[in-house]
Symmetry: C2
Subunit: 752 residues, 2 copies
Amino acid sequence: MTSLKNTSLFFVMLFAINIVKGQEEMQLLDYVNPFIGTSNFGATNPGAIAPRGMASVSPFNVAGAENKLEKDSRWLSNPYVHENTFLTGFSHVNMSGVGCPELGVIVSIPTTGELETNHLKYGTTYSEETAEAGYYSAQLDKYKVKAEATASTRVGVSRYSFPAGKSNILLNLGLGLTNEQGAMVHVVSPTEIEGMRMVGSFCYNNPEAAYPVYFVAKFSKPADEFGVWKTPYKYNGLESQWMHYNGETRIKKGFTREVVGDSIGAYMTYNFKKPQQVEMKIGISYVSLENAKENLEKEVGNSNFESVYANTRKAWNEKLQVVEIEGGNKDEKTIFYTALFHTQIHPNILNDINGEYPEVGTGKIGRTEGTRYTTFSLWDTYRNYHQLMSLLYPEEQLEMANSMLDMYKENGWLPKWELNSTETFTMVGDPAAIVFADTYLRGLTDFDVQTAYEAMLKSALNTVSNPLRPGLIQYIEKGYIGVDSHVKGPVSVTQEYNIADYAIAQMANELGKNEDYQKFSERSTSYKNLYNPETGFLQPKNTDGTWFSEFDPLAGTNFASNPGYIEGNAWQYLFMVPHDIEGLKEEMGGNSKFEARLDELFEKDQFDMANEPDFAYGYLYNFIPGKEYKASAKINELIHQYYKNAPEGIPGNDDTGTMSAWVIYSMMGFYPITPAKPVYTIVAPTFEKVKLNLDPRFYNKTHLIIEKIGNGNAIKSMELKGEEINNYTIQQDPLLLGENLIIQTYKTNENE
Amino acid sequence: MTSLKNTSLFFVMLFAINIVKGQEEMQLLDYVNPFIGTSNFGATNPGAIAPRGMASVSPFNVAGAENKLEKDSRWLSNPYVHENTFLTGFSHVNMSGVGCPELGVIVSIPTTGELETNHLKYGTTYSEETAEAGYYSAQLDKYKVKAEATASTRVGVSRYSFPAGKSNILLNLGLGLTNEQGAMVHVVSPTEIEGMRMVGSFCYNNPEAAYPVYFVAKFSKPADEFGVWKTPYKYNGLESQWMHYNGETRIKKGFTREVVGDSIGAYMTYNFKKPQQVEMKIGISYVSLENAKENLEKEVGNSNFESVYANTRKAWNEKLQVVEIEGGNKDEKTIFYTALFHTQIHPNILNDINGEYPEVGTGKIGRTEGTRYTTFSLWDTYRNYHQLMSLLYPEEQLEMANSMLDMYKENGWLPKWELNSTETFTMVGDPAAIVFADTYLRGLTDFDVQTAYEAMLKSALNTVSNPLRPGLIQYIEKGYIGVDSHVKGPVSVTQEYNIADYAIAQMANELGKNEDYQKFSERSTSYKNLYNPETGFLQPKNTDGTWFSEFDPLAGTNFASNPGYIEGNAWQYLFMVPHDIEGLKEEMGGNSKFEARLDELFEKDQFDMANEPDFAYGYLYNFIPGKEYKASAKINELIHQYYKNAPEGIPGNDDTGTMSAWVIYSMMGFYPITPAKPVYTIVAPTFEKVKLNLDPRFYNKTHLIIEKIGNGNAIKSMELKGEEINNYTIQQDPLLLGENLIIQTYKTNENE
């Protein structure tokens, strides 16, 4: 492993060379289908976005009763749903693959004819929908307007092709996926609108932390007319009798002062004698209007739509080239590269082009020399996502570690589920510790390790108003959290703390802190306190040590709230001990009982591919000597059962790329089975040949090639650097140093 | 008359000399009772304000069911009502004596104990209320906090005396008298909060023009804690089930980013070990945050409460010294000087200290070298207010004329009812023309007369989308506006246009434009078309020339809407022909019939002292030879009947000083009976001696002294400069040149 001391010049040159090689690499983009995950609650959107972009331009079709899935009529976490049909615009800050509604604001739409500002009235069906990495377009049926979108990192760029006649571009700041309200808008000139929108309360948590997102919109053609609209509260009572305009939308024609309110917007109107295109660029900042302008100027300036799109294509192409594949059909390749595309959306860039970003907790504006990342869904991503980033994009992974550390420095606490510098306190456990340990143990050590370790210890030991580990005192004293403790999901939480403590132990070991290593190693297997040999489950226990009497192993199915578990039931959490697989086997009574229990999980349909606790379970067969073929077969089965080149092609929320990381690893034939342990467990890959291009600034080898011989779904034998290996689970170092892993496969009917 | 070419140095020096004379002048302030007009719909407020201040600090006691007159439960146009008891703070931009709710925002309140942001809960009764010119104080019962307020022109300054313990200062930006919504707030530091509030839609008109008012608040002590609160819309439907905070106020502790929304506020919290005072200065601007800060810095800077108050006292004293009186009791003197105080509130200063102000209609920021005035309630003020300003504060009157002209230059139209650079289109007629003509004919000619005349003609002649004179085509063609024309109050409007046309004729005459003089003179008496000799009323007529068949001379009593008149009935408009009293007499059949009709008006209780059309009617007896004693008696009766040194001491809305101007003139013993004609009609004064200090830059004499001999209410004889005069109505020039008017009075029982 080399350190991060070199500049990134080498890598840039490497990619530049690849690109000019032409045809082959450029075609990787053809394997990105941004519609994958836009149905079946994948919660991705097909909007135009640059890699890890702050801005994106997503079609917004979740408002209005015409839509099957309407944002206010159900739990809905995305600005776009593939089966919906009624478009009310294009939102300019969006989240991808998350489980809660947030952002989805700064909504623009081109219309024609008389100005109509009510989205329920101006909304339209659409057709001829296309999407690529960094590009989206559709024909808006009602207006015969073609809307195209692309984006640079901090700027959404739209191109609207209008027919002749009266046309409008609306910027609706009332409409949004977020449940937060409040906006400011200011028409600066016939070619410029600036403003801000309040967002926040992700997952209906922490609404107090709602914060502003700023924008500036520039238009390629000066409007013939412009204005602002505002829909006020409706007054009740006597006074309303004099307010002929009570609750009604007001059009402030030609208004050039600031306007604030909960439901406002601005418009540009054109009178076109012939069909015309208008390009609209919207620069975003979470810091200030000035920064939004600077982002727009420096990132896009006078470049036109085509030029921005070309740059973004180039950026995406560079991203995708880290893995080259041979074999597999077009759908499989599309599933793979789209998944890779989906891992490059979050965590996303928060800092402005001048380095400024809002700090966590302080209310101050910080400044970074590098990149400040945001959107850390760590309960999800600690399991495989950051491992994949360490492998394929190590510089980014280190920057993410640095961003997380900066949050600790600002806020006094590591992030749990951080979004735009607010801690949303979504999900449970102490996942940041795991990410630091995993990153470090995989050889990416160029971060402030002492501070990271200090932060990890703080959340693991501080029993006074610790926002990350509720129930910690009981956990330390009793080894588990009692079901009567008011901590939600006490079994799940105990398991999560165990995994985090294991990670801290591994880190302590690396840093030579033997006492900590002992202590946290011991803490990490306390889940055993919750294993009831009579039922064969990890189950809720009362603080007094007795079992919770109303235990039902199925309670919690389908995300139902239940006394023991978070987003799952006793089956789904039974095997979530990735750091102590041998220990769990022992508890269960050895290999064959473990195998039988695992079989039962799948047979009883209690395995949940759509949520993180379970989704590595298929790999557990690799830990039962002689039954490794079941792991390969199961993983191959799951890939083809749940991942598709189709809108419903992700089994559930993509979880900021975690589901995608699963399929990337799984299709490549290996998986980081134990977070914070630099190992990979191996299964039969999907493709004939996978070539990982490793960043030579971090790895001693420039690539790892995995070849599959035979079109099987189980492993017959393996050869690393020409030498046969018998372990299905191996350390990362020898694997990467091996450069070439050849996997002989055969066909098994197991699990089919 | 001298011109305005001199600097104002002379005047300043004059006042400076007066002040050091000490005692006598200083005591004038003791005759200001800011509670006069705070009941009986006088609509004044007792808040602290500097002369013509942009900012003021008014107690705000019109919210909450505890209050007898609640702002949302009835038509209520003032932030304070004397008989109300429940105070919810102090508003920092306020209107005085107007008929519609507007402004009354940026509401602060000191509280103690745990933070409570709902004004219905934090509101309190109060006691020990005192008010002076530029000062207000009360004890807030619930909190045992003494709240004091003073103000400079653009800065409201408060001093809160807290007991020991936890204390808070709230800035509530949701609460307000205005019906407009929307605000921004930003806690800059523990000693500074900045923000803005949307205001507008005065008289429920023109809500589209709602505009921002900016502020910055600085605190003398840094807060121990601070934050922002926000109360969002309540979500309905399914989504609300996840929003435990749905519709509830959120406290954003320590939040230092911008927050926008319809219902927000900010707070500072202190933990005092002993009783402490905190001073809060709030700078205001209608242009920008930066200007609000500059206004605060340059106008107040580091001055403390006492120092600001001392300066404002001094400024008020200078204002009041223009008239010195002898005789009269304390109540009469108080009525007089409080009225003078009330004439110095509106029109108020709109421009920031750097000269910037929002232009009318353009959306641009203009800049003035002098003073930009706003709040022109011209339908009211053309009748006597501007005449009084020309007499007592000629420099201000010229600046007002210039402000009105600038509006025309910006907007293309003269103002009708202008407020903070929005035209509210309240009331009727074309009053600006009258003000220009009156000002000019009274000798104040140093304004852009050509442009003024052009503007006057434009509104009098332009029949295409003329916002000032609806129904103008019919008026020109038929001499009246038909009741079937959709113009509201067609009789009243015809009368108003007549008066305006008379004014234009007088101006044309002065400018040597004979053709215009002839034309507008002719137009000015077209009211006669509406005089029905059979009923003896000016009454509504159909466009076809027939009388409106459902005529009822009482329809319109008590401001009820009716087909013929604005805010009045046929009786109340019968004599509103101030420019053609002789003509009306002739229509009615001569002096005695005119007198009988006037007697009937009063006897039938159809005279309305509370509204402008009527309130000079008492003076009309001066135009009936031999019956002049009735004028004196009636005016003296009305003064004592309707004006009191008490909260109910103004007969109705003060109308930005118009009611006050009436009583000032009436108590001095003369009145500008005909707008745009530089005459005064004379009655027996209230005081033994009145000395008007004239501005020598505008007038050839430094003073006019009016002496009353005998304690009568009717005039026996008059002597001007030692020579007896017999006319009860004389030109302004000989009156002012006369310097000394001695009025012999006698007691008559007429009208008692």
